[in-house]
Subunit: 315 residues, 2 copies
């Protein structure tokens, strides 16, 4: 059976029937709008557009993985402000020949990724489209804390990372080269595993700036450097090259550090902290904030690089 | 100059530079997420996906009109809950050859429609796409009131309308037939004019159910009937047929009442009220809530009809 067979309202009913609503959802799917609790008196909001062929491929990722990933990248943006995600909303464009099994798997992917953080899929919109497209918006609650922006890094602060780097990019490179269709790295491309709790955790530890790494560490740290009016210096020896990354590098004749520094899609958190802060696992110090500007990697000439959607290339 | 020439971050900077941020926006565009005031302790949220060729055509509507319309249909959903809009977020998919003039006009359309209600475009996302697509999310504040859902209509309540009906559908029919490319009705298709203040106003007047008419009055009132477990009876003589609608009907050999009852995109508000409520202008009583189910038009056999996105047809 396809979504075209179900019709618009059949699709809406089918999706809504698979989505439990948490306590923060005061009015869930089915009306003109939902009502979500915002006990803090403020709400954190992030939105992303994901387009088939550009952000995902249905022959490389299952519907379930696409739902997990689409939810993850938005929930991660909320965590990167130091907030707890409460709800996501999904605008869903679907070709009429998409199977209901695929739709169910996508829905379950959204549901399960949200469940990791206690959030709910509280509403959305359905439209027919030529390819699958997803407009995802996530909401979160700061619990009385100040948001951790990109602008608070100061010379002397340390730069630390929580989560994997380079795995998703290496997995994508293996898929593109036809060298693997499963395994740790390919899985990392299909489904990021952001360490959501580290976001509010970093805020409580006194993080001075934070973001989630989605376009490559160098490029994304460049945003912190720019917004903070400071420079950042990274120590390349500080980044662990896992056996999987090393093997993929040998296999493809690539330098794993390139994936680590320039690869997107792992949604690690990168943050700066005052130098005296004792950082618990999994935070890993990889550099420091300096006077000046831009991001510099000790011993390397390249200081930038990341994804530009309009140039389909690394800057 | 095109958006491809500007590059992703150039586009983001250009858009953000045109968007003033109101007092409710505690942290605006430029970080992982925005922070919006939610003084009520709750936030109302609605999202929509708009796709070129399906929801709008660039040769029929200017960038400015598309921005106005995309904002309007989301802000109207917020008003239809009885809430005041505070912010919208726009996920924007653009072909690289879109001109920066068109992008500026789109941005200004979003800005100006939001300005009507004191809301701000507080964030978004940019991606390259094969056609223009918009994922729009609107937020609103209930000001301590209960949301007006679709479920509170009871037999004996009156059904009332605020705003135009059938104008946008007639305008689209004129465009499709090549009979007009300007005028009142075509303008209504290009740019709806929801009566936003009537939403919170209806809540204060004691509205028992409300929605914004986007898929056709019969179909949308059917949602109130279903959710409320009641029937609705409409008096066709209660609907004003404006001279423009009458002329378009003669021109196209169509019954204007069909546009009024089944046309979408005007974003009028439809609400039910206890029968004793004295309704001020522009509310117009057009029917009543009955025992039973479904929507019935006195003297007519058809009781349904509206847009189904997967069937590209009227139900």
């Amino acid at each position: 059976m396809t979504v075209g067979d179900l019709g618009e309202f059949g699709v809406i009913g089918r999706i809504a029937g698979r989505l439990p609503q948490g306590a923060a959802i005061l009015l869930g799917p089915g009306d003109d709008a939902a009502v979500v609790s915002a006990p803090d008196g403020r709400v954190v909001v992030s939105t992303d557009l994901l387009i088939e062929g550009r952000h995902f491929r249905r022959n490389w990722s299952s519907g379930y993985d696409i739902g997990r990933k689409a939810a993850a990248q938005n929930l991660s943006d909320i965590a990167a402000m130091g907030a707890e995600p409460t709800a996501i909303f999904v605008g869903l464009g679907l070709p009429a020949d998409v199977g209901t099994d695929w739709l169910d798997a996508l829905t379950d992917g959204f549901r399960d990724e949200c469940a990791l953080v206690g959030a709910s899929v509280a509403g959305g919109d359905i439209s027919r489209a030529d390819t699958v497209m997803l407009g995802v918006t996530a909401l979160g609650d700061l619990g009385g804390r100040a948001p951790v922006t990109r602008a608070g890094a100061r010379p002397g602060h340390v730069v630390a990372i929580a989560g994997r780097l380079g795995h998703a990019a290496a997995g994508l490179a293996l898929l593109q080269a036809g060298r693997a269709d499963s395994g740790e790295l390919v899985d990392a491309h299909r489904r990021p595993r952001p360490l959501y709790a580290c976001g509010p955790g970093a805020a409580r530890l006194g993080a001075t700036a934070m973001l989630d790494v989605s376009d490559g560490l160098l490029q994304d740290l460049g945003h912190i450097a720019d917004a903070s009016g400071a420079g950042i210096e990274l120590d390349p020896a500080a980044f662990p090259v896992t056996p999987e990354l090393a093997e993929a590098g040998r296999d493809l004749g690539a330098d794993p550090l390139e994936w680590i520094l320039k690869g997107g899609d792992d949604h690690a958190l990168a943050a700066t902290f005052p130098s005296g802060v004792r950082l618990p696992d999994p935070w890993l110090v990889v550099g420091r904030v300096t006077e000046g500007q831009g991001v510099h990697v000790i011993g390397r000439a390249d200081t930038t690089g990341g994804w530009d959607h309009f140039r389909d290339s690394r800057g």
